[in-house]
C-alpha cells in the first residue's frame, strides 16, 4: 500500500504541492487528474522517492520511503511523461539495458525482453534504432521499459501525450490489460476519458492541491444537481444567447465552436422554453442533447475552468 501524508513541496519560496494526502491499495487503479502545471509530476516524483518532500511523509507498506527509499524503488515501475529511452540504441538494446540494471540476466533477461516486446507490439521492430520510431512506438517502448522487472506498482505520468489516436488506443488497451491482471496503478493525465476508462478512484488536483477525490460515481454526484444541454442549430446569434441567459438567470451559457452549451440546475425543465426562444429569434435547432455529467463537468464545477484551459 502506498500512502502519502501531508505532502508539501516548495521550490525556493514557491509552493508547488501543498498538503497532499493520497492512498493506493494493492491492485487498485488510481487516477490523478489535473490541468498542466497542477503539480501532478512533482507529486509523482515524491511518491516514487525521486524527490524529497519539503514536509510530509510517503509510506510503502508502512515503511517510510523518505528514510528508506530502497523499500519502494525495486518494486516500482515508472513511465515518465518524457521518452525515457536511449535514442541511439535499438528497442531490444534499451529493454536489455533496463533489464540488466534491475539485475535480470541470461535466459531470463532474453525471455522477459521478448515477452515485453510482444506485449507492446514491437517484436517486429526490436532491432531498429529508437530514434527512427514514431511517437506512438516510442511511448509504447517507454511503457515496456517500466514493466521488465515485473513491478508491483506502476506509476504513469501522462503516457499518451502527443501521439496519434491509434497508438493512444493501443496504449490504453495495454494499460487496461495490466490493470485487469491486478497491477496497482497510479495514472496521471489531463484527459478525462483515459482516467474514466482506467481508474477506480480519482484524485482531482489543481494549483498544487487535491480539490476532490473518490470513485467516478462519487465525483459525479458533486454535479448531480446540474444538467448540461448541448444545442446544435442554424443561425445561432448573440441575441438568442442573451435571450436564453435572460430566461434562465441561474444558467451558464457558452459557445464552443458551433455548439451552444447551457448548464443549469437540474430541477428546471427547459427544452420547451428553449425551442420557443429559438423560434422567436429565427434559430432552427437541429439537435438538443441533455448530457450526463462527466469528470470535465466536475472539474468545471470545482474550479470554474475547463480542464484543458
Amino acid at each position: 500500500m502506498l500512502q502519502a501524508i501531508n505532502l508539501q513541496k516548495k521550490f525556493k519560496t514557491k509552493e508547488v504541492v501543498c498538503n497532499i494526502n493520497m492512498q493506493l491499495e494493492k491492485g487498485e487503479s488510481v487516477g490523478l487528474l489535473g490541468p498542466n502545471g497542477a503539480g501532478k509530476s512533482t507529486t509523482i516524483s515524491m511518491l516514487s522517492s525521486l524527490v524529497m518532500p519539503t514536509s510530509g511523509e510517503v509510506f510503502w507498506n508502512k515503511v517510510s520511503i523518505n528514510k528508506n527509499p530502497e523499500a519502494l524503488r525495486k518494486t516500482l515501475g515508472i513511465v515518465p511523461q518524457e521518452i525515457a529511452l536511449y535514442p541511439e540504441l535499438t528497442a531490444k538494446e534499451n529493454l536489455a539495458f533496463f533489464g540488466r540494471i534491475y539485475g535480470l540476466k541470461g535466459r531470463l533477461l532474453i525471455e522477459r525482453t521478448e515477452e515485453i516486446l510482444l506485449k507492446i507490439g514491437l517484436s517486429d521492430r526490436k532491432n531498429d534504432i529508437v530514434k527512427t520510431f514514431s511517437g506512438g512506438m516510442k511511448r509504447r517502448l517507454n511503457i515496456g521499459a517500466a514493466l521488465l522487472h515485473k513491478p508491483s506498482i506502476l506509476i504513469m505520468d501522462e503516457p499518451t501525450v502527443g501521439i496519434d489516436p491509434q497508438s493512444r488506443a493501443y496504449i490504453l488497451d495495454t494499460v487496461k490489460q495490466l490493470v485487469e491482471e491486478g497491477m496497482t496503478l497510479l495514472y496521471t493525465s489531463h484527459y478525462m476519458e483515459e482516467v474514466e476508462l482506467l481508474c477506480d478512484k480519482i484524485y482531482i488536483m489543481d494549483q498544487g492541491e487535491i480539490i476532490a477525490y473518490g470513485t467516478k460515481e462519487e465525483l459525479k454526484l458533486l454535479v448531480s444537481d446540474n444538467q448540461t444541454i448541448e444545442l446544435k442549430a442554424h443561425l445561432l446569434s448573440s441575441a438568442f444567447e442573451e435571450a436564453l441567459q435572460k430566461q434562465f438567470p441561474m444558467a451558464s451559457v457558452r459557445k464552443e465552436e458551433d455548439i451552444l452549451l447551457i448548464s443549469m440546475p437540474k430541477k428546471e425543465e427547459p427544452l420547451a422554453t428553449i425551442f420557443a426562444i429559438a423560434a422567436d429569434n429565427a434559430v432552427t435547432i437541429t439537435s438538443a442533447i441533455v448530457k450526463i455529467p462527466s469528470l470535465e463537468d466536475v472539474f468545471l464545477h470545482l474550479t470554474g475552468r475547463a480542464l484543458r484551459d
Binding site: 516524483s45 522517492s49 525521486l50 515508472i78 540488466r100
Partner: protein
C-alpha cells in the same frame, strides 16, 4: 551493472556522428595539415635518420712499417720461426684491419656509421666539411707502437687522433663511442693476451651497437613537426571526451532516464565511476588511434614504449576524472553551461598554454612553465621528452602534476554530486 552502464555509454558515443568527428576525424585532419604545412619551419636542422659519417685517414701501412717492426722484435730476442709466428699473429690481430673490416663493416654498426677513406693531406679541408661527423687519423708509426705496447709491455701508447664535429652531437657521439670501445680493446691487448684471450676477439667483442643505442637514448632527438602536432592534437582533442560524456549524462537527466537508473538502484557513486571508466577507455582508444595514425601515415618512429604507456594511461585517467567532474557539474546545474564553457573556453586556453598550437616557450618561459602545469601541457611535455630520447625519470614531475589534477577532479566529483532529488 557497471559493465552495462559502460557498454551503454560506449554505444551512445560510437553511434553519434558528432563525437566521432570531433574526437577522431578532426585531430587526424589537423595533424596531417599542420605536420605538412609547418614541416619546413620546424624541421630545419632536424635529423631523424641517425647515420654518422666517419672519414678514416690512415698514414700507416704494413709495407712501410714491416721492416721497423721486424727489427724491433729481433731486438727483443725473438728470431727465426718464432719471429715469423709472431708476425703472423700480429698481422691477424692488426687493430686497423679489425676496425675497418670487422667492426665498421658489420651490419649492425653499418646502420649507424658510414665510412670513407681519404688522404691525410685532406685533413684541413675535411675538418671544414659540416657533413662529416668524425675523422679518425692514424699516424704512420701506429702499428709499431701498438706491438711495443701490446706484445712487449713497452709503456708507449699507440696514438690516434679523432676529430669530432660540433654540428651534430648525437652522430659525433656515436662515432666517439665506437672508437673508444675499439681503442679500449687494443690498448688492453697485452693484458688480454696474457689471460689467453685474443686481442682480435676483444676488439670485435665490444658492445658497439649497444653503446650506440644507449647513446641515442641518452641524447635528444630533434622533434619534427609531425611528432609535435600529433602529440599537440592528441592532448587537446582528448579534452573533448568529458564534454560529450557529460552531455549524454545531462540528456539522461532531461529525458528522465536517470530517474529509471536511480529507481533500479544505480547509486550516484556507481554512475560516476561508470563515467570515469568510460572516459578513461575512450581516451586510451583515441590516443592509441592517433599514435598509430602517426606511425602508419606520417612514418613517426615512437620511441620509449614504457614511458609512453605510463603517460597515455596517466592522461586517460585524468580524462576519466574530468568526465566525472563535468558530469557532476552539469547534473548539479541542470544545464550544458559547464560543458559549453569548458569546450569553448577552457580547452582553448589549456591548448594554448600547453603548446598544442606552437611551442609557447618560444614566446614566454613564464607561460611555458604555467603550461607545464596544465594537464594537457604536462602530458605533451612528458611525451615530447620521451620522444627526444630523455630518460624515463624526467616524466615523473609531469605525471605528478597530472595526478594532482586527477585527484582534484575525483574529489570535486564526490563532493559536488547532486543529492537525492537534485536531478529530478
Amino acid at each position: 551493472m557497471l559493465l552495462s552502464l559502460i557498454g551503454k555509454q560506449m554505444k551512445m558515443l560510437l553511434r553519434n556522428k558528432q563525437p566521432l568527428i570531433i574526437l577522431l576525424v578532426m585531430p587526424l585532419v589537423l595533424i596531417t595539415i599542420l605536420s605538412t604545412a609547418l614541416a619546413g619551419v620546424m624541421d630545419n636542422g632536424g635529423e631523424s635518420a641517425i647515420q654518422a659519417r666517419l672519414v678514416i685517414l690512415d698514414e700507416s701501412n704494413w709495407e712501410q712499417e714491416e721492416e721497423s717492426i721486424k727489427s724491433f722484435i729481433e731486438e727483443q730476442g725473438v728470431s727465426g720461426s718464432a719471429l715469423d709466428a709472431l708476425l703472423t699473429q700480429v698481422k691477424m690481430n692488426d687493430p686497423i684491419h679489425i676496425l675497418e673490416n670487422s667492426i665498421l663493416a658489420s651490419k649492425e654498426v653499418g646502420k649507424y656509421i658510414s665510412v670513407e677513406k681519404k688522404k691525410a693531406t685532406d685533413l684541413n679541408n675535411l675538418r671544414k666539411d659540416k657533413n662529416i661527423d668524425g675523422i679518425l687519423m692514424i699516424p704512420s708509426n701506429f702499428r709499431l707502437n701498438y706491438i711495443k705496447s701490446a706484445y712487449f709491455g713497452v709503456n708507449q701508447t699507440p696514438d690516434i687522433d679523432v676529430f669530432l664535429s660540433q654540428e651534430n652531437e648525437i652522430r659525433a657521439s656515436i662515432i666517439q663511442s665506437v672508437i673508444q670501445e675499439w681503442q679500449n680493446g687494443f690498448t688492453k691487448s697485452l693484458v688480454f693476451s696474457k689471460a689467453g684471450i685474443s686481442p682480435n676477439e676483444i676488439m670485435q667483442n665490444t658492445e658497439n651497437v649497444k653503446k650506440i643505442e644507449q647513446e641515442l637514448q641518452e641524447r635528444e632527438r630533434k622533434i619534427p613537426a609531425s611528432i609535435y602536432y600529433t602529440v599537440g592534437m592528441l592532448v587537446m582533442f582528448a579534452l573533448y571526451i568529458p564534454t560529450f560524456l557529460s552531455g549524454f549524462a545531462l540528456q539522461e537527466v532531461q529525458w528522465k532516464v536517470y530517474d529509471r537508473l536511480i529507481l533500479a538502484g544505480v547509486s550516484s557513486t556507481l554512475y560516476t565511476v561508470s563515467i570515469f571508466i568510460t572516459g578513461t577507455i575512450v581516451a586510451v582508444m583515441q590516443q592509441a588511434i592517433i599514435l598509430i595514425f602517426g606511425k602508419l601515415v606520417l612514418g613517426i618512429d615512437w620511441i620509449g614504449a614504457e614511458g609512453m604507456l605510463v603517460i597515455v594511461l596517466g592522461y586517460s585517467f585524468f580524462i576519466g576524472g574530468l568526465s566525472s567532474l563535468l558530469t557532476t557539474l552539469q547534473l548539479r546545474t541542470k544545464s550544458e553551461g559547464a560543458a559549453n564553457i569548458f569546450s569553448g573556453f577552457v580547452v582553448s586556453i589549456f591548448a594554448f598554454l600547453g603548446g598544442s598550437f606552437f611551442n609557447i616557450g618560444d614566446v614566454s618561459s613564464l607561460l611555458a612553465n604555467i603550461g607545464n602545469f596544465t594537464p594537457n601541457g604536462a602530458t605533451m611535455t612528458a611525451i615530447l621528452s620521451i620522444q627526444k630520447g630523455q630518460q624515463l625519470e624526467v616524466i615523473w614531475s609531469y605525471i605528478s602534476a597530472l595526478f594532482v589534477w586527477f585527484i582534484l577532479c575525483v574529489l570535486l566529483s564526490i563532493v559536488l554530486f547532486p543529492k537525492r532529488g537534485g536531478t529530478s
